[in-house]
Subunit: 130 residues, 2 copies
């Protein structure tokens, strides 16, 4: 007899680097906070602890979001897309700041007449966050 | 004298394949519709015509969203993130169907007790779309 213990993690189509792209959306406002990556361990930890853990491609290690800043993300929902290769998490952003620039979210540049214009304020100086 | 005609397209950090990940969000509801990729030409066309054009990595060519299905996306806003390597577009989804499965959006699998559960209906049978 073969016991099949297929995990929900096996249903994710990990890329050749073992990563999956992740969109973090504010659960109550619907605003997109940030985009990052997770490996298998990060997604497992995110699910287990209901707190977002990403994989930092630049530092090549787990990135426990908010570890330094306190701006952790409480996870309300985890979703997978039709091709099983993109994850969407709906989170509560503690501190109301998701971006390392001290802004609410990372998408603060809007294309206007062929220029990227910043249209969101810095809520807290990054020097006072990290 | 050197004339510098730096384009807004040059400010995007294209990956080694010349692509940038793109999140498509419904402009009025805030719901995430889909995730895809664009190359330089796709982003230029999307901006010029205010209609989403992606780069299909599987077919290795431009993908004029809705060309076959009629489910085009009218672009209201184009945004770039802090690292300039992710694009967010806010769109009006014609037909109310963004996913090739005939659903409103691609993120119809929700993680519940260790299982991915489908919680969104098929609005139109894909056989009747394509």
């Amino acid at each position: 007899m073969t016991l099949l213990n297929k995990s929900w993690l096996d249903e994710v189509s990990w890329d050749t680097n073992g990563l999956v792209p992740v969109i973090a959306q504010e659960y109550d406002t619907g605003r997109i906070l940030m985009f990052a990556w997770m490996n298998r361990e990060a997604l497992q930890l995110t699910y287990d602890n209901k707190q977002a853990v990403y994989w930092s491609r630049s530092r090549n290690k787990l990135w426990r979001k908010g570890e330094e800043s306190g701006h952790v993300q409480h996870v309300h929902e985890i979703r997978l897309d039709c091709d099983e290769d993109v994850v969407l998490i709906k989170v509560e952003q503690v501190g109301g700041i998701a971006c390392h620039t001290g802004r609410h979210n990372c998408f603060f540049k809007k294309l206007e007449n062929g220029n990227w214009l910043v249209d969101q304020p810095v809520i807290k100086d990054p020097k006072d966050i990290y």
